[in-house]
């Protein structure tokens, strides 16, 4: 018996979420007295890193068709059968959103996307997940013998458990795709918003898209990614991919700084899983202050540049 974790290397590197998924898989494997097997698209040298997170067997495969969930889910399901896996663990990201449901159907498994806890025990298999756009938590019971779970980022942490690693190969040459991948376009330089630990976000209080210089300056100083409220992206002040909230991207960074954003319930829904929230708003009655850890009541055009200067001072000290 085993627990199978699928971890994808992007440009030859694992992200933090890959280690979180392995750590989750390891603790699940321990509960079931099972082995943790990692299936990965990386080369065996890169894959060796996974030994630090409890992986016992690493299975490498090569495929040009990761963009096709029909192909990738077949590879994962066939590997799950080969290694007799009773649980398949994924990272929670755009890739797993296309895979999880397919795997659940293929394996006749119970499925939870974005689980934020481990089950108490293997017999009482319940995990929790943020629902109603993070306004509540659902406790899910997974009743099938097999389970597929994607692990919410920043929820169960990374646990180092060194293991002796055995390397194996999985032949994925026989799977063919009906989807042609033309191009992958990625923004260079900044950390993508869904993965960012530090986020600087601004709203309609900015008054004009020409005023964003101070927001970008603060983000650069911190090494943070920029985000915005929905009306800001809807009116074309900022690109759609910066829109956070109930109908935009849901994020879970360590630090979220909200500048000139009122804190409407639909905005909070996408950001209140952030570990620490700082709100800068000139209106002391702005609802966002109720959801904040730190608040600054003041004019953003004064406060934001001052905050950038203070961070620079701290970095130089």
């Amino acid at each position: 018996m085993s627990v199978l974790v699928y971890v994808e290397a992007v440009d030859g590197k694992y992200k933090k979420t890959a280690y979180e998924a392995c750590s989750y898989g390891f603790r699940l494997a321990q509960m079931n007295s099972a082995n943790l097997v990692a299936l990965t698209n990386a080369d065996s040298q890169t894959a060796s890193e996974l030994a630090s997170y409890g992986v016992k067997t690493v299975v490498c495969f090569q495929s040009e068709d990761l963009h096709d969930s029909a192909v990738l889910s077949s590879i994962i399901a066939d590997a799950a059968a080969k290694y007799v896996a009773n649980a398949v663990i994924l990272t929670d990201d755009s890739r797993s959103k296309a895979l999880l449901g397919r795997l659940a159907v293929k394996l006749d498994a119970s499925a939870v996307s974005g689980a934020s806890s481990l089950p108490e025990s293997a017999s009482e298999f319940q995990v929790s997940k943020s629902i109603f756009s993070s306004k509540a938590i659902g406790h899910y019971s997974l009743d099938s013998a097999k389970k597929v779970i994607s692990v919410a980022r920043n929820s169960v942490g990374i646990h180092e458990n060194a293991a002796d690693l055995s390397h194996e190969e999985f032949d994925a040459s026989g799977y063919t795709s009906s989807i042609e991948l033309i191009e992958v376009k990625r923004v260079k330089g900044t950390v993508p918003l869904p993965e960012a630990e530090l986020v600087v976000s601004a709203g309609r209080g900015m008054k004009d898209p020409g005023n964003w210089g101070i927001v970008e300056e603060l983000a650069d100083t911190l090494g943070a990614t920029t985000a915005c409220s929905r009306p800001v992206s809807d009116s074309g002040w900022r690109p759609h991919h910066e829109h956070v909230g109930q109908t935009g991207i849901a994020i879970k960074p360590n630090l979220y700084i909200a500048i000139g954003i009122s804190g409407a319930i639909q905005h909070l829904a996408g950001v209140n899983n952030s570990k620490t929230i700082v709100v800068i708003n000139k209106d002391p009655e702005a609802p966002f202050f109720k959801a904040a850890d730190y608040g600054v009541v003041g004019d953003l055009f004064d406060v934001v540049p001052r905050l950038s200067e203070a961070i620079k001072r701290q970095k130089n000290s």
């Binding site: 755009s94 033309i182 701290q314």
Partner: protein, 246 residues
């Protein structure tokens, strides 16, 4: 083109979320419902635009009780041609996907649209389950879709970018922001919707293997600490020493 749009009903975005019966049930009292925004704003509208450009039919489908008809009529008012409601409680993602696949299996839809996620349970599961039940390709988080000479070109949102792909219908997709612009139903649409067909069909047998057994509320914030706007060094100190996030 023969297009199917899966629409779900969700609590309105400002609805008060709480639970009853020992936190085992969502408290529906006083809750207003809407069409799931991803389904309404992006999936449905793009399907209607494609129909307007290329001809064909847009069918809206929902798995739910008769009380959902009001939401389904809105889809017809926005521009869907006909609608189907599978008469059952939508008890899990796999239940919903199973029902829709049973309905769609012999109807040769070219594209089946779902939303990126339902804003209540945030599962993002129905689309990929449906694709698997039907043995079709699935494209998730589609923010652009064009059809030229029968072939589809699709942009899928990924972390920090997009994957640009091309394929032939039939396929299933989930719709994300960017795919279309929200349309508000007009008076004529609302009047016409009353005469468009909305058929209720029976559900097929399916057992749920994933259930919500209990609900809870996220931990409350302990209260905001206000920092003097003149003293940003103090905020930086707190973020560094107390919150330990920078």
């Amino acid at each position: 083109m023969n297009l199917l749009v899966c629409i779900s009903k969700t609590p309105e975005t400002t609805a008060k979320i709480d639970f009853v019966n020992d936190s085992k049930e969502f408290n529906t009292e006083g809750v207003q419902y809407i069409m799931n925004p991803y389904d309404e704003w992006y999936a449905l509208v793009r399907a209607i635009e494609l129909k307007e450009a290329l001809g064909g039919t847009v069918t809206a489908i929902n798995v739910g009780p008769a009380a959902n008809d009001i939401i389904i009529r809105k889809a017809l008012a926005i521009g869907a041609d006909e609608a189907v409601r599978i008469d059952a409680e939508a008890s899990s993602a796999s239940f919903v996907a199973k029902q829709i696949s049973a309905y769609a299996s012999d109807k040769s839809f070219d594209i089946i649209f779902t939303g990126k996620e339902s804003i209540d349970y945030n599962g993002s599961l129905v689309g990929s389950m449906l694709a698997e039940y039907l043995g079709l390709p699935f494209l998730s988080y589609v923010s652009k879709l064009d059809i030229n000479d029968g072939k589809a070109t699709v942009s899928c949102d990924i972390e920090g970018g997009v994957e640009l792909m091309s394929l032939n219908p039939p396929f299933v997709l989930s719709a994300a922001k960017g795919l279309a612009e929200q349309r508000i139903p007009n008076m004529r649409g609302i009047m016409m919707a009353k005469r468009k067909p909305l058929n209720a069909v029976e559900a097929v047998e399916h057992n749920d293997s994933t259930r919500v057994v209990r609900y809870s509320m996220p931990p409350e914030k302990s209260g905001v600490k206000l920092v003097d706007p003149e003293n940003m060094d103090e905020l930086v100190r707190l973020l560094h020493e107390e919150a330990k996030v920078i």
